[in-house]
Subunit: 137 residues, 2 copies
Amino acid sequence: MFTIGQMARRTGVKIPTIRYYEQMGLMTAPERSQGNQRRYTKTELDRLGFIKHARDLGLSLDAIRDLIRLNAHPETPCAEADRIADEHLASVRDRIRRLQRLESELSRIASSCKAGTVKDCYVIRALSDHTLCEDDH
Amino acid sequence: MFTIGQMARRTGVKIPTIRYYEQMGLMTAPERSQGNQRRYTKTELDRLGFIKHARDLGLSLDAIRDLIRLNAHPETPCAEADRIADEHLASVRDRIRRLQRLESELSRIASSCKAGTVKDCYVIRALSDHTLCEDDH
DNA sequence: TCTTGAAGCTATAGTCGCTAGAGACATTAT
DNA sequence: ATAATGTCTCTAGCGACTATAGCTTCAAGA
């Protein structure tokens, strides 16, 4: 049996966040001590680890809830789990693409100002004037 | 003079968002018509365009507030504006790096499950078991 | 057994950057 | 004059937490 603090230390998930996951239905409400404190089993520790890992990979709580639900029914085909991972991968790739476009514009803007004062600052001019952009966003 | 709707159409910033920017002190409170509706000048239109552009580039409202403040004092050295753009660029690059690591792990996980049912699904196993990861996060 | 300090409890509010909705009032076109 | 559209304020909601207040419980040492 683990206290909530031990759960936090072992998984790296902060205590209020664990309680939040319980409230959001990602963690089932654990047993309680006589004094009403949460006492977790190994199974629950593992589930929290699963959630942590999936969060680190950027999955939404909704997606994680789906995966947990799938996991609870081991006979269902795993196509659905595949789909969730795939979908997320696509959105990650999209985010990378957009960030890279942004990076190239920003790096053109940043550190490029030779003027001494804001009056002629290229950074501010570039931000004011969209036509200075090399591609549209 | 522009109505809030014209401002929205010209900049692509939604009406409630414009009012929100006013509340947050990014836009100054504009003149009002006799019927208490907002009437904006060209200057204010330009500022909204500036904000939009900076937001599209991912700058926080705080950073934008700083830039606006700088812009209002044209004699200050522009090193500060440079710094804001630089800092933001660094954080964008960091986000790209992290997303790329994530992408490689996810693409390893996704679409790789040959099992028929969730019981042996690689996606779910990979998410449960951090040791399957190729690099640490 | 008592005490102390750390850890845990609930409940509520705040974060960021919007977005949506309700219900009332203003403006514009016909 | 009326209808259609636009705008007003106010409030609440989103996701995923984080912080605070004021309380109770637990574990270890004296």
